[in-house]
């Protein structure tokens, strides 16, 4: 197995872990962490392909992903804090108002 394949496999597995975590976990904060896992997996794939193709464009994309991740975490966590203030819970199963 080449180094390239190892990195891609790790990236794929990390992304899968992130997907499973988002589906399975109930703590909203941990669900957010799993989203971060997925973003990291994507970043790893970007860097790996960037190295494989000998350009730095993939690494540039990693910066964009990181910037968006920072914005997303700030918004997401403040949503969680607001929800917690109103419902005293961070269980994602408790936030079902829009369903009814």
């Amino acid at each position: 197995m080449s180094d390239f394949a190892i990195c891609l496999a790790v990236s794929a597995a990390l992304f899968t872990l992130g997907v499973v975590g988002v589906l399975v976990k109930r703590n909203a904060i941990v669900v957010f962490m799993c989203i971060e896992l997925m973003l990291n997996a994507a970043n790893l794939a970007f860097v790996t392909f960037s190295r494989q193709h000998g350009t730095v464009d993939g690494q540039i994309f990693v910066f964009f992903v990181m910037a968006i991740a920072a914005a997303e975490v700030a918004i997401g966590l403040s949503i969680i804090v607001t929800v917690f203030r109103n419902r005293a819970s961070i269980n994602v199963d408790d936030v079902t108002m829009l369903r009814r």
Binding site: L23, I29, V47, H53, A67, A71, V73, I90
Partner: protein, 177 residues
């Protein structure tokens, strides 16, 4: 030698990822996430993406996960935070989807890896950071500016979100930003 390092750090990243999900306590989940971040950063270093590796630590480990921990401590959930994972059908469906997804992606990776693709570029002796900056500020200037606007929008959005009605922001709440 180097392949061994790839394997070790790849494995550490995966172990961290599994622990994020398996741990019931959100603080332990956050620490496992840091472990994964470090391992991924090591993989970046192995691929000579030094700048990205350093930024990965600064942004993810230094800021984002600290923010997670801050919110966990701010809410101070105690045992209420240690929610068990969803039970029954959702767990089953999650596992099923996960396995399916892993199978699809794994097949693609296998296909691509066995065809070997273009050869890895030789490690140039160029100033890596400078070449990165050149590409960022010449070819990707517009996306760069757009991202800065997105960040500004996020900042304003957070302030709007955590604003409590009637009395505006008080100082302790302003720190969530």
């Amino acid at each position: 030698m180097e392949t061994l390092l790839y394997l070790v750090f790849g494995l550490v990243a995966l172990v961290g990822g599994v622990l994020v999900i398996v741990n019931r306590n959100p603080v332990y989940s956050a620490l496992s996430l840091v472990l994964t971040m470090f391992a991924v950063s090591a993989l970046y270093i192995l691929q000579q993406a030094y700048f990205v590796a350093a930024v990965q630590i600064v942004v993810y480990a230094g800021a984002i996960v600290v923010l997670f921990l801050f919110v966990i401590m701010l809410l101070n959930l105690g045992d209420q935070g240690n929610l068990p994972a969803a039970s029954g059908t959702r767990r089953f469906v999650g596992a099923l989807l996960g396995v399916t997804f892993a199978g699809i992606v794994g097949a693609v990776v296998w296909e691509y890896a066995s065809t070997a693709g273009p050869a890895a570029a030789a490690a140039g002796d160029i100033d890596h950071t400078k070449s990165l900056a050149r590409v960022l500020f010449q070819n990707y200037l517009l996306p760069f500016e757009v991202v800065s606007i997105v960040l500004l929008a996020a900042l304003v959005g957070v302030l709007a979100l955590i604003r409590t009605h009637g009395r505006g922001l008080d100082s302790s709440e302003a720190d969530n930003v």
